[in-house]
């Protein structure tokens, strides 16, 4: 049996509690509070204690999906990304870059938010970037 504790941060509210994922044989078994963390000092709320449950859910998306004649068809990354790239390029060519909008997320990392706004600004060519802080 392989067991390890991996430090992370809770992905629910904006408090940012430090936690440890208990990983046994490549699967997350539980979420534990990090005792030394300056934010939560060894405590978690009910959501934090159960953070791993949504990660392990059978409802997680496992494949890219492309809608064809109103139905989702499972596909691979190359095809899904090519379809997306082609459609965006077509829209930009026809209606200009400001006809595309991007909603980035308060749930993804800083690095991913940085890349997402870079994608909108440098690749699409629009400042139509926002996220749900307003909501």
């Amino acid at each position: 049996m392989q067991c390890k504790l991996v430090p992370s941060i809770c992905s629910y509210c904006g408090t940012g509690c430090g936690l440890l994922f208990e990983v046994i044989d490549g699967k997350i078994n539980s979420t534990l509070p990090m005792k030394t963390h300056p934010v939560n000092e060894g405590k978690l709320c009910i959501k934090g204690w159960n953070l791993h449950e949504h990660i392990n859910s059978f409802m997680r998306l496992k494949h890219p999906l492309v809608k064809t004649f109103g139905r989702f068809i499972k596909t691979d990354w190359d095809e899904a990304l090519q379809v997306t790239a082609d459609r965006f390029k077509e829209i930009v060519a026809k209606h200009g870059p400001d006809s595309v909008g991007m909603l980035v997320s308060a749930k993804i990392t800083n690095e991913e938010n940085y890349l997402a706004q870079k994608f909108a600004r440098a690749v699409i060519g629009t400042n139509n970037v926002d996220h749900c802080a307003r909501l």
Partner: protein, 541 residues
């Protein structure tokens, strides 16, 4: 955040979470802290144990109210009047910090003049708060330094959201509580990386570290770093994107990790708008309500399946570490974006999130420049952290405000966009409950959280329930000018007579069928989720 930036020059929590314990008084307004930020509520309780006073102002009788020295239930949307009333009394009693006002702030005179009319009697007429309570809470706040003011969406989700925030800043500056340990104006962020998303330029008008896209120098810097020309005019906010979709101006939308179908105001309006799009891509963990109507759905890795950083409410940038492989064929969002970009002809080759982080810090001199993965360690660092030796900043505006002087704003009270009338006689407000999170995509599939509350509900006062012959669990039809929905009744004194509360987590009882997309703060573009007028009827059995 627009209100905070206008007053102080920085749109973030001024102080640290641990700081709250050292406050002399804690003033919580528009935050159901024990339910929404339990580990911040813990600091409030610890402060109380050390002798701090606690004031709670909320239209509902929340759990925290029971522990307060003074708790008031002010009428929905009357925050500006309540805060102006407090400031009126502070000045009348001479409790303001005159040296601080003179040395560190500007535009005080206009505020002082405006406050003259906010007598306790006038404030009672608007807010329903008894003058004796107003006097008690004001005295506690002004005479137990330093006082820490905490607020959340109960302040911002109004047509007057920016005004509300400015008023919070006014009252804190009036007493000299900004720029000191244990004090400050502290917005509690609802989502784990809202602060980071803003810091990273996930906004229509700024790049990372709030560098304006309209500023030629900033644009030139990013343009050089990214090797391409960049657009110079600010883009559309989410609130502006919806009408743009309806008018056919916005044709394509790329949504990452968001569920606007459930979180945006006025569901019917948005549903209609999404149908007008030529192309919708959603990148998500689950087939959310929004993903279901997408043309392409991209499966993203979860928090445990990637490396990276998050920045919490107190500006602390912290590392997350990859614990397991992504499920199925899911990929981390950074890899998806980089591959899509490459497919569109703009090469993005990053070996790791650390490379992206280093690119970002090099472009963000004032706040993130001094951070590296190694320096972040387990505890993280609080921005501003401008260089490699800087220890991070536990509280802002120490000797000087970010904008130089703190700016007072004379803010008049304005009514919410919609008030109850004959046709729609009830106030409706919305919010979260302790076991669930936002649109419920993560918590409702979590067995131990789902079991706490499996369905939506509407909270109604026993008096209203009695007069309409409603029993616990009876299904009610709620209607507003936008639409109607059903939810079972939960009878509780936590809401005042004439007010209803709906939690936002439940897709089958979509709260935002009722709320108002037309009513939003003109500057911050935050919709008024917290106040709408509705009617209720019992579903005939």
């Amino acid at each position: 955040m627009a209100g905070l930036a206008a007053a102080f020059g920085s749109g973030a929590m001024t102080n640290s979470i641990a700081d709250i314990e050292d406050a002399g008084c804690i003033f919580v307004i528009g935050s159901n802290t024990t339910a929404c930020h339990p580990l911040i509520a813990r600091r409030i309780f610890r402060a109380k144990e050390k002798g701090a006073k606690l004031i709670v102002a909320d239209p509902r009788n929340i759990q925290l109210s029971r522990f307060a020295d003074v708790a008031v239930q002010h009428r929905l949307g009357s925050d500006v009047a309540l805060l102006n009333g407090m400031m009126h009394l502070i000045i009348r009693n001479g409790w303001q910090d005159k040296d601080y006002i003179a040395q560190r702030t500007e535009d005080y005179e206009a505020l002082e003049k405006l406050l003259q009319s906010y007598t306790p009697e006038k404030v009672k007429a608007i807010t329903g708060v008894d003058p004796a309570d107003l006097e008690n809470m004001t005295e506690l706040y002004a005479t137990h330094p330093p006082a820490s003011l905490l607020y959340a969406m109960g302040i911002t989700q109004h047509t007057t959201g920016v005004d509300n925030v400015k008023s919070c800043c006014n009252v804190a500056m009036l007493c000299g509580y900004v720029g000191v340990h244990g004090g400050g104006v502290n917005p509690l962020r609802g989502q784990n990386n809202v602060q980071g998303a803003c810091d990273m330029g996930g906004l229509p008008n700024v790049y990372t570290g709030y560098q304006p896209v309209a500023d030629a120098e900033a644009r030139e810097k990013f343009s050089t770093a990214w090797g391409t020309e960049l657009p110079d005019s600010p883009g559309l906010t989410i609130t502006d994107m919806i009408p743009a979709m309806l008018e056919g101006k916005l044709k394509g939308l790329y949504v990452i990790g968001e569920n606007p179908k459930l979180s945006d105001p006025d569901w019917n309006h948005l549903n209609h708008a999404l149908k007008e799009l030529d192309f919708l891509v959603v990148q998500e963990l689950f087939l959310s309500e929004t993903a279901q109507v997408a043309d392409v759905v991209l499966p993203a890795a979860s928090v445990a399946e990637k490396d990276g950083t998050f920045t919490n409410s107190e500006r602390r940038c912290m590392r997350i570490h990859k614990a397991i492989e992504p499920v199925g064929n899911a990929l981390p969002d950074w890899q998806i974006i980089a591959r899509l970009s490459t497919a569109m002809g703009y090469q993005m080759d990053y070996a790791s999130p650390e490379e992206i982080f280093d690119e970002m810090t090099a472009l963000t001199p004032k706040s993130y420049a001094g951070m590296t993965y190694e320096r972040l360690g387990l505890d993280g660092l609080q921005w501003p952290c401008p260089d490699g030796q800087h220890p991070g900043t536990p509280y802002l505006h120490k000797d000087q405000f970010t904008r130089g002087k703190g700016k007072f704003h004379a803010v008049e009270y304005k009514d919410p966009a919609e008030l109850p009338d004959k046709e729609y006689p009830y106030f409706l407000t919305t919010g979260r409950m302790f076991a669930h999170f936002h649109t419920g995509t993560m918590t409702r599939i979590s067995p131990h959280l789902d079991v706490e509350q499996t369905t939506g509900y509407v909270t109604i006062n026993p008096q209203d329930a009695g007069s309409l012959d409603i029993k616990e669990g009876d299904v009610l039809i709620l209607s507003s000018r936008r639409g109607q929905m059903e939810a079972p009744a939960k009878i509780s004194g936590s809401v005042e007579p004439g007010t209803l509360f709906l939690p936002i987590h439940f897709g089958e009882n979509p709260t935002n069928v009722l709320t108002n997309a037309e009513a939003f703060d003109p500057l911050a573009k935050i919709p008024e989720f917290k106040v709408s007028a509705v009617n209720i009827e019992k579903l005939a059995s």
